[in-house]
Amino acid sequence: MTEMIMRLDRTRKAFGGLVAVNDVSFDLARGEILGLIGPNGSGKTTTMNLISGALRMDRGTIELDGEVISGLAANRVARKGVARTFQLLRLISDMTVTENVVVGMAFRPGQPWNEEMVARSRDYLDIVGLSDKADWEASKLTYIDQKRLELARALALEPKVLLLDEWLAGLNATELLAGIEIVRSIQKLGTTIIMVEHVMSAIHSLCDRCVVMNAGEKIAEGTPSQVLTDPLVVEAYLGEPHHA
């Protein structure tokens, strides 16, 4: 049994009468890539927001390395070692690429405020393949390059757990292959990843395990090929089969 890094225990979040996340529990093993999948509106992004502290949950607990992080504000969760990318990109457009990466680094606990951060930002830009544009203004980057920058900034936090919210969405076929390679290289560096994703080819090639959600509940858990052939999952995505 591999070592566990994060555990969600019966987390629940309701918006008025709508239960967006209904007593969802799962474990995250150190070093794995976990896919969080399900149809639109199934509660994936809400779950990510509960982990990152963007939303306060109604009940349940989330532990990181044995420490309860649920109930902490987003800035405290980040300092405990959870980084995220945003579905709708949130870069600072009038800062340079390097400065945007320093945003990820500058507010980590114990980080001194010095020149060395600029040098180190180059390492993260190398990983995502953006080091040749280090001095560009972020607003001048193409869409895929802005996505790369979002990822480099999250990496700069040196997170224990990285949350990717549809980071591969909207890429063309070539860009998608490049994106998959980048995510794989980040896993090899030892980062544990939870990814919300709709792109099935990416889920198949990247994820060690998947958690499938539908209407706020976890309906399946296992390897990608196991869960994607699970009748419950097929039904959630395609509707009930018609019997002739």
């Binding site: 504000a73 980040a78 980084a83 949130r90 500058a106 507010f107 405020w113 193409t142 936090l157």
Partner: protein, 320 residues
């Protein structure tokens, strides 16, 4: 982003050193004008320190300025001068802390309205207190402080504020404020506490304004709430900040210098229509110079540079 060059500090000190000699060569009328200018320079720079990075437009400048003045009116004759100044800064900072805790979670537009209401409320409160408790609305300030001493104190304050502003811009807190101004939601997810950073800056900026009010108080000899808490001052400070450009340290300072000359000319030639013309100037600035003079100049420089840059950027773009 991270710079350790001492040049800006040396420049600020050198300019301040030269300006300090002014009282020896100018007339007392010119000195009075220079005091007014320095006062606005301090207020506008302090305003820009908070409003520039956070993009919260504060109309509360006069609240803290007035608190400083009133502190002098109340305790000026019973305490040594440095203690009076320290007390003014502390009270200004204390009020800013309470106000900030209550309001800095508000979105920008509500903050503007709140700060406007706050200055009116404080003015009414002080009036009520003076009428009902001390039974006299006005107060006299008889202190043995000369025009020249006021000038030097304001200059020293401005120098400290400018040096502090440069140091802040180079610090982690300064960087944090740029990030918060850029995207507050994102900032939270990278370990920043936006409320704390904004609060720290609001308190610091308000303490400077209270100090300016305290230093200026001996000039008046007589103050009442309508003088000390005159909302026009808040608007003047905002106009100066916007004219110069609030995203740069020296923007509000530039705006303060230009505006003080303009105010002087306007109130000299059209004393009846001063407020009206002030409004017109405000409108013109917002329309024509949304990023202030500094922003406009930077835009022009960028435009002349862009032409050669375009081709190389295009080539790199194609390669990726």
């Amino acid at each position: 982003m991270i710079s350790r060059s001492p040049l800006p500090y040396i420049g600020i000190l050198a300019i301040a050193g030269m300006v300090a000699l002014l009282p020896f060569i100018v007339s007392s009328f010119q000195l009075a004008f220079a005091i007014g200018l320095l006062n606005f320079a301090v207020l506008a720079t302090a305003w820009g320190l908070f409003s520039g990075p956070t993009r919260y437009i504060s109309l509360a400048s006069v609240v803290f300025f007035g608190i400083g003045s009133y502190t002098v009116a109340v305790v000026g004759e019973v305490m040594p001068w440095p203690a009076v100044l320290a007390l003014a800064a502390l009270i200004g900072g204390g009020v800013a802390l309470v106000v900030g805790l209550a309001t800095l979670r508000l979105a920008g537009i509500y903050f503007v309205i709140f700060t406007f209401g706050l200055s009116e409320m404080v003015r009414q409160l002080v009036t009520w207190y003076e009428v009902n408790v001390t039974l006299s609305v006005g107060r006299y300030v008889f202190l043995d402080i000369s025009q020249t001493q006021i000038f030097w104190q304001l200059l020293a304050l401005l120098t400290v504020v400018m040096i502090g502003a440069v140091a802040l811009q180079r610090s982690r807190l300064g960087f944090a404020l740029r990030v918060i101004g850029g995207d507050e939601t994102m900032a939270r997810h990278f370990g920043l506490n936006p409320t704390f950073a904004k609060l720290a800056l609001f308190v610091g900026s308000s303490m400077i304004m209270a100090l300016a009010g305290a230093i200026m108080a001996p000039r008046w000899t007589y103050i009442d709430p309508a003088i000390a808490f005159n909302i026009t001052l808040s608007f003047q400070v905002v106009i100066m900040g916007l004219l110069g450009g609030m995203h740069r340290i020296y923007g509000p300072l530039l705006g303060a210098i230009l505006m003080t000359f303009l105010f002087e000319a306007l109130s000299d030639r059209f004393p009846q229509a001063f407020s009206l013309l002030l409004g017109v100037v405000f409108i013109l600035i917002v329309y024509l110079l949304p990023n202030g003079i500094v922003g406009r100049v930077e835009e022009l420089i960028a435009r002349t540079r862009r032409k050669p840059d375009n081709t190389s950027a295009g080539l790199i773009g194609e390669r990726s």
